[in-house]
């Protein structure tokens, strides 16, 4: 049944009927499986992958390395929660290595992101330091190459 997840992860717009045909299962079984995944929060949402560079929308994305002091009894989870609850935070990962959290921030302008770091993130008690890296260009995101020329370039050959 995991094949259903694989298919949906690539394209969540396929209908239950289409997925049923692709997997050789009945539409009813696929429907049930998807409902169960949603219930169990295996499927946590359906989103659209947007290449914002192609739109008029002004936006900047930054990846921030955050060093933390772990809190007694709670490790990093509590402070991570304080950080990821901000709507500006699009992703938040606990890391191994020389820093502790990767925080991905999205804002309208560089200034907006910088202000968020200065006013919201850096002053938190457990935050020891931050390093902000702005994204200049997205080549590939969530397994999708953005400027992928998907035209069929195969030449006509008889085989």
């Amino acid at each position: 049944m995991e094949e259903i997840l694989e298919i949906l992860e690539k394209n969540s717009r396929y209908t239950v009927e289409q997925i049923a045909v692709m997997t050789g299962k009945s539409a009813e079984d696929v429907q049930k499986a998807i409902e169960k995944y949603e219930e169990d929060e295996v499927i946590v949402g359906y989103t659209t992958l947007v290449n914002w560079d192609k739109t008029g929308k002004e936006s900047v994305v930054a990846m921030i390395e955050v060093k933390l002091t772990p809190q007694r009894g709670e490790g990093f989870d509590k402070v991570a929660e304080r950080i990821y609850k901000f709507p500006e935070v699009k992703a938040c990962y606990l890391m191994s290595g020389s820093y502790d959290l990767t925080v991905i921030i999205e804002g309208k302008t560089i200034k907006e992101v910088a202000l968020f770091v200065a006013e919201k993130l850096a002053p938190l008690e457990s935050v020891l330091s931050t390093a902000t890296h702005f994204v200049l260009k997205k080549y590939k995101d969530k397994g999708t190459i953005f400027e992928n020329n998907s035209q069929d370039k195969r030449e006509a050959i008889f085989i």
């Binding site: 045909v21 692709m22 069929d152 050959i157 008889f158």
Partner: protein, 388 residues
């Protein structure tokens, strides 16, 4: 000197490809969805391409030995054992060729000439008949039937055999029908062939693309290994068509003889491709698996789509082709393809391109994106509703 007068009659006799005209049309039209192509739409897995690039950077730009790099032959030998349980000695029983098609040509040229008969089940890949005719041998065509799911039956084989039969071609998984032969079905064929003085050329280029159960090689049956030449290659399984690399495995005497032609005509297969191929066989399983799963989904979508249109479509279990019957439309295969291309801009190939017996069928390749396949089905449905 008139150039055309200098050309051998048997070459002049080769008819122009039946689908050339569609390709010419295709080049003039825009926004055509081509389900006519017989090669993967996937690019070569990046680790494989990267191994080829690395070999160039390292300066591996020379000939290899005639029969191919020993390391590659060892890797092929290991792969054949691992995948199909077939044991071939790397040094004497494996020859690296320029695609599976060179292997077919070498095998036929090594084995047959005027007076010999070559049994060819059709519909199938055009090169079997073409290469047979070039040797001067006589092709004996078995007309496979849709009601047998285009499998070779022992009765049909028995009827086609004669004292002059020297080679039987076993083309499964099959281009263009997508048919496969399972172990029981092959076993019935083996019973007839194993005590006869003839050679089987088993074209297993699509062996990795099977969708229910694993591919079974006829060479694996008792008494068959020494009389079977297995053709395989990298094009279909690893999406490496442009690298032009294949291989043949068989009895040392056959390999030695085929290598004699190979060394004059080809010298050796491209070295860059050989380096990439080692990576493909060693670390390519996951990529192949992912492609096979995607092909399988597309296959189901196409079969379902054609059946819902009311066309008979047997379930193909191999390669990347669906072979629906278009008899209900009242059109011939060629008319169907031409009209479909001109009115709905979808290219499929008439079954007749693979032998007369393909009349009434079209070959639809699912080596194209799911998006293209779904759009093509919509257009074909519209086309059929207009003409029927």
């Amino acid at each position: 000197m008139k150039p055309e007068k200098m050309i051998l009659q048997k070459i002049l006799d080769i008819p122009p490809s039946g689908i050339r005209k569609y390709f010419d049309l295709l080049n003039e039209m825009k926004d055509v969805i081509s389900l006519g192509v017989g090669e993967p739409d996937f690019n070569t897995p990046w680790n494989v391409s990267e191994a080829g690039i690395y070999s160039l950077e390292k300066g591996h730009t020379h000939y290899s030995s005639n029969s191919g790099m020993l390391k590659l032959r060892e890797t092929i030998s290991h792969y054949m054992k691992r995948k199909y349980g077939l044991e071939y000695e790397a040094k004497s029983q494996v020859l690296v060729t320029v695609g599976g098609s060179e292997g077919i040509d070498l095998a036929l040229r090594t084995l047959v000439g005027p007076g010999d008969e070559v049994i060819i089940p059709e519909p199938s890949f055009v090169a079997y008949q073409g290469c047979t005719k070039l040797t001067g041998a006589t092709p004996v065509i078995i007309k496979l039937r849709a009601e047998d799911q285009f499998k070779l039956t022992p009765e049909q084989l028995e009827k086609a055999l004669s004292p002059r039969t020297k080679v039987v071609i076993i083309p499964y998984p099959n281009n263009p029908t997508g048919a496969v032969m399972n172990s029981d079905e092959l076993s019935a064929i083996v019973k007839i062939l194993k005590d006869k003085d003839l050679v089987v050329i088993s074209d297993e280029i699509y062996a990795e693309l099977t969708y229910e159960g694993k591919h079974v090689s006829i060479a694996g049956f008792e008494g068959m290994k020494d009389k079977t030449i297995v053709i395989n290659g990298f094009s279909k399984a690893f999406a490496m068509t442009g690298w032009r690399l294949g291989y043949v495995c068989g009895h040392a005497s056959f390999i030695k003889a085929m290598n004699k032609i190979h060394q004059y005509a080809i010298m050796c297969a491209p070295t860059t491709a050989q380096h990439a191929a080692i990576e493909a066989l060693t670390n390519g399983d996951a990529a192949v698996d992912e492609m096979v799963r995607e092909y399988n989904r597309r296959r189901r979508v196409l079969v379902d789509g054609f059946r819902k249109m009311g066309l008979d479509c047997f379930e193909p279990l191999g390669a990347f082709y669906v072979f629906p019957s278009i008899q209900k439309t009242g059109l011939s295969s060629e008319e169907f393809c031409e009209k479909l291309l001109l009115t709905e801009k979808v290219l499929v190939v008439p079954g007749t391109a693979f032998g007369e017996v393909g009349e009434g069928f079209v070959r639809v390749s699912y080596a194209s994106s799911m998006k293209n396949i779904m759009e093509a089905l919509k257009r074909i449905k519209r086309f059929i509703s207009v003409i029927t």
